[in-house]
Symmetry: C2
Subunit: 104 residues, 2 copies
């Protein structure tokens, strides 16, 4: 918990919706939601540069969507599903559910 994570009650809807409005970030969130296990940042979005990936992860973390911590040389990420579901019930499910459509 050494990074900037907003408390559950401080999670802002505008920030969450903005974070989710980017397809790249939505893809990351979808992958995190699919695998319950935490994963290192580097295992996502292979098409983009490292700095861009860092940027996207920071946006997600500061919006309160993910939690991050260091583990060796890697940085692990986990979806804050309980917090998001508690604060905005149904939001994550509807956004991720529509991913099942041909929604790229």
């Amino acid at each position: 918990m050494t990074f900037e994570h907003p408390d559950r009650d401080a999670i802002d809807l505008s920030a969450v919706l903005h974070a989710l409005s980017d397809p790249q970030r939505r893809e990351i969130v979808a992958e995190l939601a699919a695998s319950a296990e935490p994963r290192p940042c580097g295992s996502f979005a292979p098409g983009i540069s490292k700095s861009t990936r860092t940027h996207h992860f920071r946006v997600l973390r500061e919006a309160g969507l993910i939690e991050q911590w260091k583990e060796g040389t890697s940085k692990m990420s986990r979806l804050r599903r309980a917090d998001i579901d508690a604060r905005f019930p149904g939001l994550l499910d509807s956004v991720l559910g529509s991913k099942a459509l041909a929604q790229v």
Copy 2:
């Protein structure tokens, strides 16, 4: 239907989330959702300028969230709830529902 309205199947999730990420526009959508009757644009968001209001309504319309048509000198707006609900089930409810929180 003389304006640019995306078809239901063409409604893009990124555009919808981006449109909803602005508090001003979310407020408009919330008011439209509250009163089932169409309302002229001028009856919203009294604090902002006319041009900004026009801009917000266009963003909402081009994202597929609202439908607009002229009626006399006014332009009426109605929420495309059925289309949004069909395309992204639960999304609108979760976004508007959280409005009930102290989410400004």
